[in-house]
Symmetry: C2
Subunit: 149 residues, 2 copies
């Protein structure tokens, strides 16, 4: 690609990923609005539906987010009655995050979302699987490059 072409917006992989991410979030919004949660809050719930209990640190490692983002986000989720936060007895530096009954119950309401989103994305099952593994690979690679510094 010639040097002039390289700085065109349409040739930026970064832009298509960035715009895609935001459009995907918009696609989720009507569904998440019904549950009274935001997209990052939905991601926290996905983790907690698998693990029931975790720490801010572990959550951050899974979602690639730090305490600066998670602390206020989890406080909002606590206020809306979805999670409980309390200091660990064994290690008081750690804050345990646990689902409430309300948080547990939201799982049933959310169970329809993945199918709805898969349909809306317009990808076949094979395309979806392929795209997913492509992204995870790219994500892993870039994350390791970023962390090296």
């Amino acid at each position: 690609m010639e040097l002039n072409e390289q700085l065109k917006l349409e040739n930026q992989l970064c832009f298509s990923v960035y715009a895609c991410s935001r459009e995907i979030t918009k696609m989720y919004r009507p569904y998440l609005d019904k549950l009274g949660i935001t997209y990052p809050q939905y991601l926290v719930l996905l983790v907690l539906w698998e693990q029931h209990e975790t720490t801010v640190k572990a959550l951050g490692a899974e979602l690639y987010l730090d305490s600066g983002t998670l602390t206020p986000l989890l406080k909002r989720m606590e206020e809306s009655g979805l999670v409980r936060r309390e200091r660990s007895k064994e290690d008081e530096r750690k804050v345990m995050v646990r689902l409430t009954t309300k948080g547990e119950e939201l799982r049933d309401e959310a169970s329809i979302i993945p199918d709805a989103m898969a349909t809306n994305s317009g990808l076949s099952k094979e395309e979806f699987t392929k795209a997913l593994s492509g992204f995870q690979q790219l994500l892993d690679h870039i994350h390791s490059v970023n962390d090296k510094k």
Copy 2:
């Protein structure tokens, strides 16, 4: 995929796109820091380096952003001397956005970025092209689905 698997974080295309987008932004940061700009500001410059002059509306259509995001962003860019904003004489509803000399000159400094990012992403030229077109397709599709409502 069984219903239980569908709600696992690792199976969410949305999450890998979301995390990827943020990791890519982090990868750009050291380069953009040198230029004194943020990632969304870089995207605005990419458009202006192609067009030299545009409107808030047109910029929003290209970047999928609205005036609520762009107005304060462009004001910051104006403060740092990269662009000028002024009401159009022909249609006073429109605000024209133009590059300053400083904004123009930043292009040379930025010209090394695409190659550096391509290298860091760890994708071959073919993989890059393929990933790019895959995303643009997904983006177009989701954007049209979102706009239909």
